[in-house]
């Protein structure tokens, strides 16, 4: 007899924990991207709008806002799936506490990822509201379709959080996270179409950028927030992100089990 997923139960734990720390994270997850947005979109945007040749006459602010949304989702989710996962195994041992109850490995993996997804929804919602308020002041607009960018941030976030959590449950060495952030996440943040179209990149790097989940998230958010959706391309983006999620989750099930059930 198989019991349906119990992932909602650990989710409550993460929310109880989040209630204690949300003020600190509110700064980093909401204020930081807004500062970026103002500095890049408004400050740098003055230059960019004068010289750059952005597609179909959009302002630089309109161009960069969706990029920042997707890139923030990637960063936040990657962080949430790194040290917190290792801590739940090694230091706070929360996963062990969960495993002493009816929860199973699958519930533990899904519960943690569900919380990260919830964080994406909350952060993206606040971010979009702020953008919608700010845009008119700078002669820019955001399409009503932009609301759909909110669930897209969940796809982007989990496409990163699932494989990183899988790595977190595999590694003994927390320093590897520093390497991941420095050599994987940061370059993606800069070169996956967040701040400029990847067509500006050298050929080889452009090819690599196409492979990153972030670029697919950025482009999809951009299509939605500019209100210029190309359906085939949008579906391809979703499918690509889902593929990363499925692979990442599968790996996480394997590494969690190997680490916790011995």
């Amino acid at each position: 007899m198989t019991t349906p997923t119990l992932a909602a139960r650990p989710l409550e734990f993460y929310f109880a924990q989040y209630r204690r720390v949300w003020r600190g994270t509110a700064i980093s997850t909401v204020v930081t991207p807004i500062v970026y947005l103002l500095a890049l979109g408004v400050g740098l945007g003055v230059f960019a709008d004068r010289f750059a040749d952005l597609p179909s006459g959009v302002s630089y602010l309109e161009f960069v806002a969706p990029g920042l949304l997707a890139a923030t989702a990637m960063q936040l989710a990657s962080f949430e799936a790194s040290w917190p996962v290792l801590s739940a195994i090694k230091w706070s041992r929360q996963y062990h506490a969960m495993l002493a109850t009816p929860l199973r490995i699958g519930d533990i993996v899904l519960g943690h990822q569900a919380f990260i997804a919830a964080r994406m929804l909350m952060t993206a919602t606040v971010y979009l509201v702020v953008i919608a308020i700010l845009m008119p002041f700078f002669d820019s607009t955001v399409s009503p379709l932009g609301i759909l960018a909110i669930p897209v941030t969940v796809l982007v976030g989990i496409a990163y959080a699932a494989p990183i959590a899988a790595w977190g449950a595999h590694t003994e060495n927390e320093a590897s996270f520093v390497a991941i952030f420095r050599f994987v996440i940061l370059p993606m943040f800069l070169f996956s179409g967040t701040f400029f179209p990847i067509s500006e990149l050298p050929r080889v790097l452009e090819g690599i950028a196409y492979l990153t989940p972030l670029w697919h998230g950025v482009d999809l958010c951009r299509q939605l927030m500019l209100g210029e959706v190309i359906l085939v391309s949008a579906i391809a983006h979703v499918v690509y992100l889902l593929a990363w999620i499925v692979i990442g989750m599968t790996l996480a099930f394997i590494t969690y089990r190997r680490r916790l059930v011995v």
Binding site: L6, T101, P102
Partner: protein
């Protein structure tokens, strides 16, 4: 829910846990009956924790048979774990949450309703004497308080068996006695306890029945009293010597004691009459620096069975 009368709650036959080449648990048999306090006594590395983890369904059985509530841990882990309480060796409390939240969140893992849990948390905190710390964060609590909270948390689902892995390791003597007192009360209330320990005093105080484990095997089984009677003498004479320690103990003690155990720091003489034995060797001219006559403990049983001390 209850298993049929007389049928053991937990039954192991030829139970084996292997990590690569190493057999951490090497074919052990035991039964746990409802209402008893049963212990695994042994040094670190004896296989106690591995056994506990298999019972807790977080470690697959390598070989042999293990049945818990008549269920199979490989198949029925969810149901089994729902009926067990687990006090792990290392604390797994959440430091960010309050004392009370820790119990409620944990209770939610069992699917218990919030309204039920609020009441239950208050009762449990009262039981472990943490009511006045209910709203405090866990982190600043002392080691003893954290242990008591872990015990309270493990009782949230009203478990049929409480698994305690080294429940007082790392606590100072006073905190240890408070924990023992709470566990003793649980035992009096009829909660079935299964504990591992390397403190013979803990085993003597809490266990109705225990098995002595060494290197993955069970080397003896019985009540603390029975084990002492079977494997040791009534009394023990502990001799300590200064610089001039004789080595021919067989000569000095011949006919006076039933067994001699020379340890690095002292020599143990096993006899049913400690005073008579210490008189005897004195008359023969052996003068140790100090002489202590005490009754036999499980430590002596372990020493006799394995040739080693429990705490190394």
């Amino acid at each position: 829910m209850a298993s049929r009368n007389g049928e053991p709650l937990i039954q192991a036959r030829g139970l084996v846990k292997r990590f690569g080449e190493l057999a951490a648990v090497d074919s052990v048999d035991f039964d746990l009956q409802r209402g008893e306090a049963f212990g695994f006594l042994g040094p670190n590395g004896a296989g106690k924790t591995s056994t506990m983890r298999m019972i807790g369904c977080v470690s697959p059985v390598t070989d042999g048979k293990l049945s818990i509530f008549g269920l199979d841990p490989a198949r029925d882990g969810v149901e089994i774990r729902g009926r067990l309480g687990v006090v792990p060796q290392e604390d797994s409390l959440d430091m960010e949450l309050t004392v009370r939240e820790n119990i409620i969140v944990y209770g939610r893992y069992f699917g218990l309703a919030r309204s039920v849990l609020r009441k239950r948390a208050d009762e449990l905190l009262e039981f472990v004497e943490l009511t006045d710390r209910a709203k405090d964060r866990v982190e600043p609590l002392s080691g003893g308080m954290k242990r008591r909270l872990t015990i309270a948390r493990s009782l949230v689902n009203d478990p049929e068996v409480l698994l305690l892995d080294e429940p007082t390791t790392g606590l100072d003597p006073q905190a240890r006695h408070v924990v023992w007192d709470r566990l003793y009360r649980l035992k009096r209330q009829g909660v079935t306890l299964l504990l591992t320990t390397h403190y013979m005093e803990e085993a003597e105080q809490l266990c109705d029945r225990l098995v002595v484990m060494d290197k993955g095997k069970i080397v003896a089984e019985g009540s603390p009293r029975e084990l002492i009677e079977r494997y040791s003498t009534r009394e023990v004479v502990e001799l300590r010597f200064g610089d001039t320690r004789p080595d021919d103990f067989a000569y000095w003690t011949d006919g006076l004691v039933s067994r001699v155990e020379p340890l690095p720091d002292r020599v143990l003489l096993y006899t049913d009459n400690g005073d008579a034995a210490s008189h005897g060797i004195h008359e023969r001219g052996l003068v140790p620096e100090s002489v202590l006559v005490r009754r036999s403990t499980l430590e002596d049983v372990f020493l006799h069975l394995t040739g080693r001390s429990l705490i190394e």
